[in-house]
């Protein structure tokens, strides 16, 4: 093989090895612990697994960081739901559920004073999970109002009021 041929062969080999390495490592990254799926609002849903109820905290993986939250599966009044979900807190104001697959929370307002109920729910939500507002805003939270509570506000997904994606109830 001529020198020119050797050089070409070497470059081609290096390119091939480099591209294989890029392919291999990017494939590894996508098949690690978390996988993503499309959500309707354009934000990815990061999948998780049901945490053990014996630990004090468990981690929720968000797009930016991993947030440790108090282990709601160990709460005495927690009620197991389908899809490994949990109704971890209910009060006269709200009903809270968590689903590990979407690593997301649903806060349903169940009191006709929806504004006050929302404030109570948001405050309790952070206290129960032992997180601050910044951390709460990174979580996947759907805040909803059933039609039997308030017909006008029903159907909306309001989020947490103090977060950038939070929406006010209709007046």
């Amino acid at each position: 093989m001529s020198t020119k041929g050797k050089v070409f062969f070497g470059i081609a080999l290096l390119l091939a090895v480099g591209l294989i390495a890029v392919f291999w490592f990017s494939k590894k990254n996508t098949s690690s612990v978390v996988t993503q799926t499309t959500s309707v609002n354009g934000l990815p849903v990061i999948h998780g697994e049901k945490p053990s109820s014996t630990t004090k905290t468990f981690d929720i993986t968000t797009q930016n960081e991993t947030i440790p939250v108090a282990n709601i599966y160990g709460l005495p009044d927690a009620k197991s739901l389908d899809f490994d979900g949990i109704n971890f807190k209910s009060s006269p104001y709200y009903h809270m559920e968590y689903y590990p697959k979407q690593q997301g929370f649903i806060i349903a307002i169940i009191n006709q004073d929806i504004q006050k109920s929302r404030e109570v729910a948001e405050s309790d939500f952070m206290a129960i999970l032992n997180i601050n507002k910044d951390q709460a805003c990174q979580l996947n939270v759907s805040l909803t109002v059933p039609p039997s509570i308030n017909q006008k506000a029903s159907g909306g997904n309001y989020g947490l009021s103090f977060c950038p994606n939070g929406k006010a109830f209709p007046k």
Partner: protein, 302 residues
């Protein structure tokens, strides 16, 4: 070294370009259609959507190219070693090796290009393709049966505010509905939004939908279903059972199997499956299965 493009190389390049286009185009077109793939791609499991299916095919193709290249380089190397100075044999061996490497480079270049355009394009398991689900012009659609008489809906709830947004968590999230009975026959984004409008996405016993005894509820949230309808004929309720469609909500109280009905139809997958059955059986605009879809303040999905 001869870099003249011969017919064989032209053919290879054409195939590569065709493959590249075939991979790029479906990202835009398939994103709007719901199709449930039936066959799995070896080594990549059963893809959950058409987009995943195409990406699995692509990655399967990449691995095939890689394996074929290793094989051809080995054969070329063996030929080179055993050529014993035979110039023709040596040339053939080199051609095998260079062709194999060129094939790998071509295949992986497509990966790098797609990855540069949008990393989600090369990820198996979804990824944000930058589209929302608003399928209305895709073929296929409902495979449900026609209604078995009656024009009533099987679900409850009054007129709404017209604001119908999907929820991102739980049984009614698009993520959880994917792979459910609704997948492939309905726009999951609309089902999720209707679920939110009907119940806020949670299963809570209704305080409004009550039998005449005022204590027995006949709906329990999430994608609300009329329990007197979906548990018809099981002695779950006392009083007259619905005779036409599911519009008759009359019941006097709980029957012997009421709790069993509640356990089956008032949570998670059982609730979704029951709602989906009603959706399949509904005639006309199937989203009108839920009363929150129609009316001046309804979601208005079609």
């Amino acid at each position: 070294m001869n870099f003249k493009i011969n017919l064989k190389t032209k053919l290879k390049l054409s195939v590569f370009l065709l493959c590249f286009l075939a991979l790029a185009i479906p990202q835009a077109s398939f994103a709007e259609c719901k199709y449930t793939p039936m066959e799995e791609i070896p080594g990549f499991g059963k893809p959950k959507s058409d987009v995943e299916y195409v990406m699995a095919l692509y990655q399967f193709g990449l691995w095939t190219v890689g394996i074929a290249a290793v094989l051809m380089i080995s054969i070329g190397g063996f030929m080179y070693i055993t050529s014993a100075g035979n110039a023709s044999q040596t040339g053939k061996a080199k051609e095998y090796i260079f062709d194999a490497i060129a094939g790998v480079i071509l295949a992986l270049t497509s990966y790098v290009l797609l990855n540069t355009i949008n990393p989600a394009l090369v990820k198996i398991g979804g990824g944000d393709y930058g589209t929302t689900t608003t399928s209305s012009s895709c073929g296929g659609g409902s495979s449900g049966t026609s209604a078995s008489g009656g024009s009533g809906t099987g679900t409850n709830g009054g007129s709404g505010s017209g604001k119908c947004e999907p929820i991102t968590t739980g049984p009614c999230s698009v993520d959880q509905l994917t792979g459910s009975c609704f997948d492939g026959i309905a726009d999951l984004s609309k089902i999720s939004a209707l679920c939110n409008a009907e119940s806020g996405g949670v299963n809570i016993p209704s305080t409004v939908d009550l039998c005449t005894n005022k204590t027995t509820y006949f709906s329990c949230g999430a994608l609300q279903v009329n329990l007197t309808c979906v548990c018809k004929g099981t002695n779950a309720f006392t009083g007259p059972e619905p005779t036409t469609g599911c519009a008759n909500f009359s019941c006097t109280g709980a029957g012997a199997n009421y709790q069993s009905c509640v356990n089956q139809k008032c949570e998670g997958s059982g609730n979704i499956t029951a709602a989906c059955q009603l959706y399949k059986e509904h005639s006309g605009n199937k989203y009108d299965t839920w009363s929150r879809n129609s009316g001046s303040n309804g979601c208005g999905f079609s």
